[in-house]
């Protein structure tokens, strides 16, 4: 796979499809749904847009646009389709919203996604949300700038208004954080064969949280060695790999780091596989592809870098950027 294909990509012009979203300010997140047919975007203009791919025209069409929050929307994420067409969003306005599609409402009516829940437990902006692996049921973890991770469970799929805050734990117990000091990010371990785990990026380190014997969430492993704030963590899809090698990654100021998490029965070990500083600017987001073989990272330079392991060594295999002058992507 691999070397060969890596080279080959250099020969091909990428076909890039650019479309205007009509958002009035920065887009903070894009999220594909489970099937990859739909795309949700959220922006500082307080709106969420849902797009659907039209394969005939090879274009993206809006399903709906609506004002979702009172401030910049930081994240948007889809629930597993077995729970219906459910979206969650979190915002600088300190709330988390759950949206569900109404099939009978016309498209682009602004009513197609109805707010099922508005969770306003946090006193600071909610910075990251992620649905738990579907095997655990419809659960949502949200971490806010007040340094608390809250896990909500939706007991009945038919009644999303009915949620309970199952767990709540402090990331750095004892420390009071201000809005600007706390930058937290979260990622669930996608494996269904491990006990529920998540990695939380907090300040200059990232911690792996698991439930202890009393099913309280505890930080077990700490991944340190960062010089600056961790901006994003992303647990790679396991793709049937053994319990042991979960890769996961985070980005922080200017660095992209990939860790390999292995387990020996009692505990998990994190081994730093590699660390890159190719971006040379702040890296904001990292995202794995579906099989967990390619990592994409994007930073302040507006470029996306793709990383792939070739013979066990991670390398940057291409840089995607949007060239404004020539109106097509450069390789």
């Amino acid at each position: 796979m691999s070397e060969h294909d890596c080279y080959r990509i250099l020969f091909f012009q990428m076909s890039a499809n650019i479309f205007d979203t009509g958002h009035e300010d920065l887009i903070h997140d894009v999220a594909f749904d489970f099937y990859g047919k739909r795309l949700a975007t959220c922006s500082s203009d307080q709106r969420i847009k849902v797009w659907e791919h039209n394969s005939k025209m090879n274009s993206w069409e809006t399903v709906d646009t609506w004002k979702a929050h009172d401030c910049s929307i930081l994240k948007v994420t889809w629930a597993h389709p077995e729970f219906g067409q459910v979206l969650a969003s979190c915002s600088f306005d300190r709330s988390v919203c759950i949206w569900e599609e109404q099939e009978n409402e016309p498209r682009n009516s602004g009513r197609r996604f109805v707010q099922r829940a508005r969770i306003q437990d946090s006193l600071k902006s909610v910075q990251d949300i992620e649905f738990a692996p579907n095997i655990l049921g419809l659960k949502l973890a949200a971490c806010a700038a007040d340094g608390i991770v809250r896990i909500y469970e939706f007991l009945e799929v038919t009644n999303l208004e009915d949620y309970t805050c199952m767990d709540e734990f402090e990331i750095n117990p004892g420390s009071i954080t201000k809005e600007v000091d706390g930058h937290y990010c979260i990622s669930w371990c996608p494996s269904r064969f491990n006990p529920p785990m998540m990695v939380v990026g907090c300040g200059k380190e990232a911690k792996i949280f698991r439930q202890d014997g009393q099913s309280k969430w505890q930080a077990y492993e700490v991944l340190s060695g960062h010089e600056d704030t961790v901006h994003d963590v992303s647990w790679a899809p396991t793709m049937g790999r053994l319990v042991s090698p979960h890769y996961f990654l985070f980005s922080e100021d200017q660095h992209v780091r990939i860790y390999k998490i292995t387990s020996d029965r009692t505990r998990y070990l994190a081994e730093l596989l590699c660390s890159f500083r190719d971006h040379n600017v702040e890296v904001w987001r990292v995202e794995w592809n579906v099989t967990g073989t390619i990592l994409s990272s994007s930073g302040d330079d507006g470029k996306v870098r793709l990383w792939k392991a070739a013979d066990g060594e991670w390398k940057c295999m291409s840089i995607l950027s949007y060239d404004r002058q020539s109106e097509h992507s450069e390789m």
């Binding site: 091909f12 890039a16 920065l26 269904r192 904001w284 794995w288």
Partner: protein
């Protein structure tokens, strides 16, 4: 590195740090214009002011600065009987308390709503408005404060007061009882003029910065009104500004624009010279807006604070309404008063019993720095979407990449165990996969002898299967090799034959899967893939040359020993297969793992947990591609019980009542009656009883019931027994005849 474009507000040229040179932009006048810089003040602007936090004993409600901007008064109340004001002399070094003005009164509900420092004639006066209708006037001349007098009358609360910037003796009071009163402080009599807004309680009032006769008022019903003090009968202009209370207004120093803030969580900017009754800009805020104030020397910037829930003070640029330019997060409770000392220094007081001086250059935060500017998403089709910004254009766009990087991991690779797969793999340029299958073929080809017979049978029966040609090739290719090898293997045959039966089933399932996957790959890759392939063929004429040397090296290692051992009786294929599976698992190619496991079935000894993980991942992948049929074929063909139950448990049918459309939950009534509307679900149309067992119905109108009742009815009538008007028998009849 230059500052990234998103730091500055969109497509906007701001005059950040313009300082003294900007002075000409505004008319200079007394108190209300801290931006009319004296040379000494310019000096102060250059040096950054230290952060200053003064702990006070009581929650503070309002603050005001002296005309020369060196002193500040904060007002609050202590206990229930004491109104107190404190004045501070604020210098570059710090602040020292000057006066402590107290007023003991007998009304235990009295508190301070607003405090203002006079100017010009009244520059030594401090006015404090209380909630019971009185204004307390203090004289602070000579460094000592004494209560001068109390004006006003017992009545409803005064919400705000404002001193005219041109004529320090004129003072406006915004009253809770729907009126605005104007006082002349030189005149010791009654209120000079009373303006009747005829709207609602007056929340805020402010004189025009340069025209001493105009003022603007904000009302509880969301209206803002512009008045001329010479025409006390009617307002000059009114705007329905907010959907809920308008709490605050502020004239822009240029005298043309007005900013208003309200409970409806918006700040709106109005052009007072135009007749348009729509705001020129709208800033949506997180919480209701209690105070707004334009930032001096920055044309488009405005500070705001909210009256509850939010302790932050935001500084917005009206050209970028969604992301605040700066914010201060120093207070621990809601700020109640904000005041620009100069372009960069903001004073504020709060319910948290503090007065704070903060410099925007040192203490502020940029909201934009806290926001993630990049969004990336991957989907199963290897599309990568990421958000890009075009600073020159208003819209943001998404760059949606269709890349072929990971094609190698696409569905394509597998096939049935041997050269059939090999060919598919070769065709789809999966050299490594094809090598793998070649190895598998070598390792396990002894089995194919038996298999060929089975498969040839299959050829006859399922002639429509597209994969069959491949299978035919396979058998043909395989058989000569086998004939040479199978000499010494007879002793193994018995066991193999036993194994073959379950295996056949698997390969049935697999064929279907591959068919689907082929079609999938075709549709997915579409024509682009074809062109790629062509190009590939041009570039690399044969499949063997250097580019693949790595692969060949790797595989030859595996192949050579197997060739040598071809004459041996027992193949030592387990380690090879183990390393093979391990390799693919590490690559994340669960498809390959699953196919190998399923095809080779029990000949492989793989850890069952591991297989389970592969299967679950692969099934999820297939689900992502919406390949339900192959997924369930995989589920039913595998032997692991935890996977097999997926096919039995995963189907849920939601039922709803056909009367009230509420979901039907299995209650003590069973599924016969809807709990919500207490009606029978689908009773018999003739006897109106529950139909248990056979339910026959007309497909035309959907009505039906007991078979006996239905046939009895239709012997007599052709029409539906419910009287819906449908001729059920005709429909039946027509159907039969057509």
């Amino acid at each position: 590195m230059t500052e990234p474009y998103w730091r500055s507000p969109l497509h906007l040229s701001t005059s950040v740090g313009g300082g003294p040179s900007n002075n000409t932009a505004y008319p200079t006048f007394g108190f209300a214009s801290p931006w009319s810089e004296t040379p000494a003040r310019n000096q102060a602007m250059v040096t950054k002011r230290d952060f200053l936090k003064i702990e006070l004993n009581n929650p503070m409600n309002a603050l005001s600065a002296s005309p020369d901007q060196t002193r500040v008064v904060v007002g609050g109340h202590q206990g229930t009987y004491l109104i107190m004001l404190k004045t501070f002399r604020v210098t570059e070094k710090g602040a020292e308390e000057e006066m402590n003005l107290r007023y003991r009164n007998n009304d235990n509900k009295q508190s301070i709503n607003d405090v203002k420092w006079g100017n010009q004639h009244s520059k030594n006066k401090i006015a404090a408005a209380s909630n019971n209708g009185y204004i307390l006037l203090w004289d602070v001349g000579g460094g000592r404060g004494k209560l001068d007098r109390t004006i006003g009358e017992q009545g409803r609360a005064i919400n705000k007061i404002c001193v005219n910037p041109m004529q320090g003796s004129l003072m406006l009071c915004a009253l809770q009882d729907w009126t605005i009163q104007m006082w002349d402080l030189r005149d010791r009599g009654r209120a000079k003029v009373t303006f009747h807004g005829r709207a609602n309680s007056v929340r805020d009032v402010q004189f025009h910065p340069s025209n001493s006769t105009e003022f603007i008022a904000a009302f509880d019903n969301g209206m803002i009104q512009k008045w001329d003090i010479r025409k006390p009968n009617l307002y000059e202009k009114r705007l329905f500004a907010h959907t809920n209370s308008a709490l605050t207004v502020d004239w822009h120093p240029d005298g043309n624009k007005v900013a208003s803030g309200g409970v409806d969580k918006t700040i709106k900017i109005w052009d007072m010279n135009s007749d348009d009754n729509k705001p020129t800009e709208l800033i949506p805020c997180i919480a209701g807006v209690a105070r707004v104030q334009w930032r001096p020397n920055q044309v488009d910037e405005i500070a705001s604070c909210s009256f509850k829930k939010d302790n932050r003070i935001f500084i917005w640029n009206i050209k970028r309404p969604y992301i605040a330019s700066y914010f201060f997060d120093e207070h621990e409770d809601t700020p109640t008063g904000i005041l620009w000392h100069d372009t960069h220094v903001l004073w504020s007081c709060s319910k948290d019993r503090t007065f704070i001086q903060q410099d925007i250059r040192t203490k502020s935060h940029r909201q934009i720095d806290l926001l993630n500017k990049c969004g990336i998403g991957w989907n199963v089709y290897d599309r990568l979407a990421f958000a890009i910004d075009k600073p020159a254009v208003e819209d943001n766009s998404i760059l949606d990449d269709l890349n072929q990087i990971r094609r190698s991991q696409r569905r394509l690779s597998p096939g049935a165990s041997d050269s059939g797969v090999l060919e598919i793999a070769l065709k789809s340029q999966k050299y490594r996969s094809s090598q793998t299958w070649k190895i598998v073929q070598l390792l396990f080809s002894k089995d194919t002898l038996e298999k060929t017979e089975d498969e040839e049978k299959k050829l006859v029966t399922n002639s429509d299967n597209s994969n069959l040609t491949l299978f035919k090739n396979k058998s043909i290719n395989a058989s000569p090799k086998i004939s040479t090898k199978s000499l010494g293997e007879n002793n193994n045959n018995n066991t193999i034959q036993n194994v073959d039966h379950p295996k056949e089933k698997v390969s049935d399932g697999m064929q279907e899967i591959f068919k689907n996957e082929d079609s999938l790959s075709e549709s997915e890759e579409s024509d682009e893939f074809v062109t790629d392939e062509n190009r590939e063929k041009e570039n690399i004429p044969a499949t063997q040359p250097p580019p693949h040397s790595n692969l060949i090296k790797m595989t030859s290692k595996l192949v050579q020993p197997t060739l040598k051992s071809a004459v041996r009786l027992v193949w030592d294929h387990e380690p090879i297969m183990d390393s093979l599976l391990e390799y693919y698992a590490e690559q994340g190619d669960v498809q390959m793992c699953v196919t190998l496991v399923l095809v080779l079935n029990e000949k492989l000894k793989v850890d069952e947990d591991c297989v389970e993980r592969w299967l679950f991942s692969y099934i999820e992948l297939l689900h992502r591609f919406q390949l339900w049929i192959p997924a369930s074929a995989i589920i039913s063909s595998c032997k692991i019980p935890s996977v097999r139950v997926k096919n039995q448990e995963a189907t849920t049918i939601y039922t709803t009542c056909n009367n009230c459309f509420k979901p039907i939950i299995n209650s003590h009534n069973g599924f016969w009656v809807c709990d919500k509307c207490q009606k029978l679900l689908n009773p018999c149309s003739t006897c109106h009883q529950i139909v248990k067992g056979l339910y026959s119905w007309c497909q035309g109108c959907g009505h039906g019931g007991h078979l006996a009742h239905m046939s009895e009815w239709f012997q007599k009538s052709a029409e539906c027994p419910t009287g819906c008007g449908h001729y059920c028998v005709h429909a039946l009849f027509d159907k039969e005849h057509s």
